[in-house]
Symmetry: C2
Subunit: 681 residues, 2 copies
């Protein structure tokens, strides 16, 4: 789609379309050019016009007169369509007829509606439309019927997005079905049913209509986890500013800003621009004297908002393109990393500052007379070596610095670095830290082996392996400790991605590194559970027991790594219905003293704000578990080890409290295990 | 396993084993021969003895003294095992140590228990044991932890059955966990969690312990749906008869009879035969004077029961070997059936009698002066032709009889039959009934096109196709109508079978014909819903509309078969927790007048008792849905048609009533569709 976009650099790209009032005549390139000239990027059209509707309605009447329960609707006639193929199609969003009723209780109406929809979709696909909007179901009760039609419709037009048009919530007092009470999450429930019945097909997404009065923050938040491809904004969503021009409330502005940061970014459709706006609110402070609404006023305001978007944050800049993108975790021991991978990690503005502070604190704690032996184990391209030198200078301590690196390519880089930058102050050693055997003990071992879940890249095993060389009298490991954290999340987009990987049976049993965007933390108060901790150095007897079984060496003996097994069980209260698609995992680490790192969304700002080196980890579920309001999710997770591998297993169950207070089980997930894709030692 | 079995013909085969008191010495061929000499078929043994237990317990004590949380148990020593390889192994059921505690809250105990279990299983596998019993979890709360160990244990001994030993229900008043209330289904819940976590692995099954006091019929029934491989019967399950000998209560007898009819038939293990029985019940009517219990008395009684089993019923005889065996439905239009297939169907003792009665009734209703034209359409090998001739003779009517058959091989058979048996009374026509074009109209069309779901083998489409030749004035179709029926069921065994078909992505979207055995109808009062009906002949205007679109002919035009689309929605109340694995489908048919057929378990005896031609149909769910007590299951099912195919789609959702009376959704199944495997026209 060619965007009509402002030329100023740095202004984000927003695609704004004009939802045209249903025209009498077919749209064409001229229609589009007229709208683009006024500043829109695209237009909409209904696929068919009133001629088609008239024919269908007449057919229904005569069928009723003849007591028929089935009849066949002939396909479309030239006089019945508003859409034709042409270059303009890429900037057109097509709408199917909203007067049909796919979920009707009347089987004749449902039968006819289905035929109308299929005719329209097939014709739109023929014309080359890539986005087609379909009005959502008209009632809560027949959603399976509606979804079955959408599922059947997916066989038409293999590249066409079907955009189900739904409001954020039912309007209070206007519940479609008599006898139903108002339920804020009912529309979400409808959507959840449709996409579940349609197997999370990536071609079924949402046209979400923004109301003038926004629902609760919980519900607004929920929709951010869903695949919203179009934001549908009727003119009555705007309110007049002091001068009478249409603007957004602060809440609506924040909503739009948040949506426009999503990738892919939804399109914005403005509708009803030609309708007379509702009368202004009763006179009061700030209420405008006179409404200055005109058809183009809404677009002008949206372009104004677009220009005034805040600049992206560090994390946004760094994460651009990675949102909800699944990456397999690194295998740093089995593979040798490439330079670019190191470079990406070295860009972190926070992590290395924290390390430098921690190293200085550790040096400060030493007696000034000591000559301190420091080793960076797994030095990579040397960022921690540079920081160690700076910390030593700042603390005024004399150090002997060793850089130990197993990657022969990074080793070359370290040698050059030592010659050109570090003035030969460093001894560079080519060795796996687990087999390094210096003729002295090291006072401070510095490493950066943490993965997104803390221990998932074998930091415990590597640091066990190098503990032999640590001074048993007060030797320090930086990091001193780290912990793993998890919480169940709703993540429909990620689930859809994983479940589409049909040729990879291990896909749902792999933990992924992923910048979580379209997700929701389901637990009350977004509670995240601390699973387990690792501390370094280990107590002497743990090390000697492990060593007796071959622990602490490459190729551990049977049971030699048992002390690095962990397991954790936690129960999460879930106040609002939802679906659990997996677990989000984070870590925290104490580097030294009070210098910490965190990727937990609730502690990162306090501990290591703007740190970008780690995205969270995601443990998927093969089959989502549906949760009603006030349910509980029980998670058990294991860190398992064998002689050659480390892997995770996880199990999720859902419960509600029954009438008698007893727990009723609602769902059980298989045991998931990443053993096949475990991290190799 | 070689059975020690009575030589009398007709006596069913029961395998009865002796659960030996834990011996001091290893068992061997001699031990087995001694027990077989007394009448047992097999024996049991614990894999390890007290020496191993002593070693492990000492290790735990010293680990506690050293504050260790992990340590490694060395593998087994010769003096620690009771089992050795040998010819006798095929008649030995091995028991793992029951003093371990896999689900312990104490992580040291859990860690050690797991190692003990794995050592024992690996050794049992080495010895060639094919059935190993593992004591169930000790508490309700840590079942995921227990199940994770079982899941890991499945990697040992690829052919070994792991038989989880569980009682039918917790004993009232002895709930393992303080704070938990008595819950009759709690043990089933534990089992359901274990097998779900273990992905319904077919190697995880049950050793079910039979209590002296049986639980409710609902719970007893539930266990019949589960894979019970061993019935574990302690001596205290028996009660004394009037003479003081150990016998079963009537309820226990019925339970055993029912279990021993299952295929595969569970083994029976009698335990505690050497213990002194409890004192007899207080004196009263029928209470024995003196207990005459001795170790062999239990076996003698079981062999007595075995000899006195009722003979198998017609249905049992016919169904032997078909229990829970999944068959793809017939494709009678696309494929030509083989003679043996016809022969199997012709053996039905009831179906053809019903047809004969219906034909006679239809002929009786005609004027005696008429010469009646009768056609058997789809005559196969001719069973209905013979019945039509007999009915004509009985009613004293004169008929012209046509046998129409498209299968060229069956046609040859019909010609021979006409020459040798029917005295040339029949005109045999080689034609698809849908293209048969006689120069006259037929008064009675007789067909046997019904499938397990009634319309699933294209009876509606075939009879539409032949309606052209039916006399428009009072022409009769036998059957006159038929209806499809369904109800959600728990069917773990069938689910396990389908989900193991990893190479067939359509496996969970195929309706199967299956003799349902290990299942439970979940709905209150075993309610079965009538989905839809088909009546023949069709009204004239329906036929003409369809014909205008090419309906009623081979290769229907677009929409020409729309009048044979159907859909049905029903809500089922489920009083007791369970798991829905799919839908059981049945049919009923009115042949003519009051002559009916039924496969519904609740109406078959009234309408067509002992009819064996049809097993039920099963519509699977890809993912089971867990149901708590007092939930609801909503099913929508569609019969869909295109120009070339007929198929079904089905969707299942589960709900509970929330506190405010509103429905909360608990689970949604994908839309399932058999379109790819639809029935071809």
């Amino acid at each position: 789609m060619d965007a009509h976009q402002p030329a100023e650099p740095g202004v984000p790209i927003w695609y704004v379309g004009h939802h045209l009032p249903t025209p009498k005549n077919a749209i064409n390139g001229h229609t589009l050019r007229t709208e683009v000239a006024t500043g829109y990027d695209m237009i909409t059209t209904h696929i068919t016009n009133v001629n088609f509707r008239t024919r269908v309605e007449q057919s229904i009447s005569s069928a009723r007169a003849e007591n028929k329960i089935h009849f066949h609707i002939e396909s479309l006639d030239a006089a019945e369509v508003n859409l034709h193929p042409g270059d303009h199609i890429s900037q057109v969003i097509a709408f199917t007829s909203s007067w049909i009723d796919l979920d009707s209780d009347d089987s004749l109406v449902a039968h006819v509606s289905r035929q109308v929809l299929i005719h329209e979709l097939e014709y739109a696909a023929f014309c080359g439309a890539s986005n087609v909007v379909i009005a959502g179901p008209k009632r809560r009760t027949n959603v399976a019927q509606y979804a079955q039609v959408i599922s059947a419709a997916l066989t038409t037009g293999a590249y066409m997005q079907l955009l189900i048009h739904l409001p954020m919530a039912e309007e209070e007092g206007s519940v479609a079905n008599a006898g139903e009470t108002y339920d804020e999450f009912a529309v979400w429930d409808v959507w959840n049913t449709i996409r579940t019945v349609c197997k999370y097909n990536s071609r079924v997404s949402l046209t979400l209509q923004i109301p003038a009065k926004l629902p609760s923050a919980h519900l607004v938040n929920r929709w951010f986890a869903e695949p919203v491809r179009v934001l549908f904004i009727p003119s009555f969503t705007f309110c007049p500013n002091a001068k009478g021009y249409p603007v957004f409330s602060k809440l609506h502005q924040a909503l739009l800003t948040r949506y426009m940061k999503l990738r892919p970014t939804p399109y914005v459709l403005v509708s009803d621009t030609h309708l007379t706006p509702p009368p202004p609110a009763p006179a009061g402070s700030g209420s405008p004297q006179k409404l200055r609404y005109e058809p183009l006023g809404y677009l002008v305001y949206l372009r104004h908002l677009q220009k005034n978007q805040p600049p992206p944050t560090t994390v946004e800049k760094f994460g651009a393109g990675y949102q909800d993108y699944l990456q397999a975790p690194l295998q740093p021991l089995a593979d040798n990393l490439e330079s670019i991978t190191y470079e990406v990690f070295e860009k972190d503005p926070v992590k290395y500052d924290q390390y430098e502070k921690a190293i200085k604190l550790a040096l400060d704690a030493r007696d000034t007379k000591d000559n301190i032996i420091v080793a960076v184990t797994g030095a990579g391209r040397g960022p921690l070596v540079s920081r160690a030198l700076r910390a030593a200078k700042a603390s005024g301590r004399s150090i002997n610095l060793f850089a130990v690196e197993k990657n022969p390519n990074a080793y070359v880089h370290l040698l050059r670095h030592n010659r050109d930058t570090w003035n030969g102050q460093v001894v560079v050693i080519k060795s796996d830290m687990r087999s390094w055997n210096p003729p002295f003990k090291v006072d401070i071992i510095i490493s950066e082996l943490l993965g997104s879940f803390g221990d998932n890249e074998l930091s415990p095993e590597c640091l066990d392996g190098v503990q032999r060389v640590l001074n048993p009298n007060g030797g320090i490991s930086i990091p001193a400790s780290y912990s793993a954290h998890y919480t169940p999340i709703m993540a429909p987009k990620i689930y859809a991605d994983i479940s589409s990987r049909k040729n990879d049976p291990d896909a749902p049993e792999t933990p992924y590194v992923v910048m979580l965007q379209a997700i929701e933390i389901l637990a009350e108060n977004e509670y995240i559970h601390r699973a387990w901790d690792f501390h370094h150095p280990l107590p002497e007897n743990t090390m000697s027991d492990a060593a007796a079984l071959g622990g602490g060496l490459i190729g551990l003996g049977d049971g030699g790594n048992d002390h690095n097994m962990r397991n954790s069980r936690a129960t999460f209260k879930v106040p609002r219905r939802g679906v659990v698609h997996g677990l989000a995992g984070y870590f925290e680490s104490v580097l030294f003293g009070d210098i910490e790192l965190s990727t937990r969304p609730d502690t990162i700002d306090a501990k290591s704000k703007d740190m970008i080196s780690w995205f969270p980890i995601f443990f998927p579920l093969k089959t989502p578990i549906h949760l009603p309001d006030n349910s509980e999710v029980e998670v058990t997770i294991w860190r398992e080890t064998s002689e050659r591998k480390v892997w995770y297993e996880w199990s999720v169950q859902a419960f509600i409290k029954g009438g008698g207070g007893q727990r009723c089980r609602l769902g059980i997930a298989d045991l998931h295990s990443s053993k096949k894709n475990g991290c190799l030692m």
